[in-house]
């Protein structure tokens, strides 16, 4: 069973969101990293880039495949996890902690309501 922390919100595309005031910290779920296998490359935009909900903001590549990353919320990127450039495997080993990807200053926190809670996401991955 993959780990689904109760306090986070989730997209159907397997990103998680941690709400920190008006900011959203974003990464991919334990389920996603396990499905992908060994992650060897993470491509992220630069700080200052505007992202829009449900649009791609980067990509994550495992040995065998490449997957787009979808922004769960809209806003401006205020932090990017630079450690992933040299240590993409952090996404495998700590998807909810050191493997986080970006922090977004949300332009419309109402978008959070469209995301899944832990129970709904767990049900989604069991489909």
């Amino acid at each position: 069973m993959s780990h689904v922390p109760a306090e986070l919100k989730y997209s159907k595309e397997h990103e998680w969101v941690k709400v920190e005031g008006n900011q959203a910290r974003i990464g991919i779920t334990d389920f996603a990293q396990d499905e992908l296998g060994d992650i060897v490359f993470v491509e992220l935009p630069e700080v200052g880039t505007e992202v829009r909900a449900n649009e791609t903001f980067g990509s994550v590549e495992s040995v065998k495949t490449v997957s787009d990353l979808f922004a769960p919320v809209s806003g401006k990127i205020v932090q990017v996890n630079g450690a992933l450039q040299d240590s993409p495997e952090l996404v495998n080993s700590a998807p909810y902690e050191d493997g986080w990807m970006i922090v977004v200053e949300m332009s419309d926190p109402g978008e959070l309501d469209a995301l899944l809670d832990a129970a709904a996401y767990t049900a989604h991955t069991a489909e």
């Binding site: 296998g37 060994d38 060897v40 490359f41 491509e43 990509s59 495992s62 040995v63 065998k64 490449v66």
Partner: protein, 376 residues
């Protein structure tokens, strides 16, 4: 549901207990990994790994004209192939493209086993049958009656020797013996697809599960682990071994793929000879070359390759090399752009990333551990 149509090897029931994640490959439900592709890859380079490759096809070709028939069908020259020897060869079509690439085992002078790629079993079978008219030869598709395990890595010999009476130290590269492994009847062959020393074990399907379990348990102290097709692909790519459907297709000739050593234009007539002869005479239009990326990203099959802004070919295979820790790839490009040092670029989802043609193989095991080269 689609999964129900996928074929399964005799080892399928065991996958789960070894932690396998399976994917569709060539119509089969196969393990892509058991633990992690990177760990499995490293295990094979440093120690040993065990692969289930029972999806591969096996045809028996027997009869008075068996050798003549295979000489006519294959681009390599079997004339010096003796009982106990194996040989690699492309199987060409009339246009010089590749129907498949195969291993041929000489069982006796009039009996051969041809090992074909899983995704090509039906196609090859039809192709060979279609050409068998006029030859005194009989074809027998033994694919469903044959399981195949690959034990690969520097500790393979030590591990396998514990469970076989065959003297493995005397078994050279591309040689095989009929023997026993874990008390099961087996054809033991010193071959593989990883760039490491290793063995392939052809077994009866009903024996495969026991041999698999016993080898893994016995090899555990030496670091033997079960490996999936993901590691098999990264291992073969580092060793620059072609994969059908990538570097070899009906439209890519063995000469373009860099397999000229396995195309013997000086032997008698064979399917594809005149097309290949003409390619050689007029010079190749395209060739497969190895690249490493200078920038960040991973080349993947189908990505465009550019030279000074112009599209000059495409990526046939690519990965992040687990051994070199660099993005590597094989590309099919205009022939004069395949020379070592040529600066190219790969279009990675709209972004041009600099790449350079390098010498291949990307990885070669140190000379001391090298069994003699395969017979070419």
């Amino acid at each position: 549901m689609r999964m129900a149509e996928l074929r399964k090897t005799p080892l399928y029931p065991l996958y789960k207990q070894y932690g396998a994640k399976t994917v569709e490959f060539g119509g089969w439900d196969m393990p892509v990994q058991f633990s992690s592709i990177l760990f499995e890859h490293d295990s094979v380079r440093q120690r040993a790994g065990l692969f289930d490759v029972s999806h591969m096809g096996e045809f028996l070709v027997t009869g008075r004209d068996a050798r003549a028939f295979l000489q006519y069908m294959l681009t390599n020259d079997l004339s010096r192939l003796e009982s106990g020897m194996a040989m690699y060869s492309p199987l060409a079509n009339e246009r010089g493209g590749c129907v498949d690439d195969v291993l041929v085992y000489c069982l006796t002078s009039d009996s051969y086993m041809v090992v074909v790629n899983a995704g090509n079993i039906e196609k090859d079978w039809t192709w060979l049958q279609h050409h068998a008219d006029g030859f005194s030869v009989s074809l027998d598709n033994r694919s469903d009656a044959t399981a195949l395990l690959a034990l690969q890595g520097p500790l393979s010999e030590r591990i396998l020797q514990k469970v076989t009476p065959a003297d493995l130290s005397a078994l050279k590269y591309y040689r095989f013996v009929q023997s026993r492994v874990c008390n099961a009847s087996a054809l033991v062959s010193r071959t593989g697809y990883t760039g490491e020393d290793g063995f392939e074990l052809y077994l009866r399907p009903e024996d495969a599960a026991d041999v698999w379990a016993e080898l893994l348990s016995l090899g555990e102290p030496d670091g033997l682990v079960p490996c999936g097709l993901g590691a098999r692909d990264t291992l073969r790519l580092e060793a620059r071994l072609p994969l059908y459907g990538h570097e070899l297709t009906e439209d890519i000739s063995p000469l373009e793929a860099g397999l000229g050593a396995f195309v013997k234009l000086d032997k008698g007539d064979f399917v594809g000879k005149s097309a290949l002869q003409s390619q050689k005479l007029h010079g190749l239009r395209r060739r497969v070359a190895g690249i490493v990326l200078d920038g960040r990203g991973i080349p993947r099959q189908g990505y465009s390759v550019l030279h000074q802004g112009r599209t000059v070919g495409q990526v046939t295979s690519g990965t992040m090399s687990p051994t070199l820790k660099m993005p590597i790839g094989l590309v099919l490009v205009e022939a004069d752009l395949g020379s070592v040092g040529t600066e190219l670029a790969v279009d990675i989802r709209g972004k041009q990333v600099a790449a350079k043609v390098v010498k291949t193989p990307f990885y070669k095991r140190s000379a001391g551990e090298n069994p003699a080269s395969p017979q070419s």
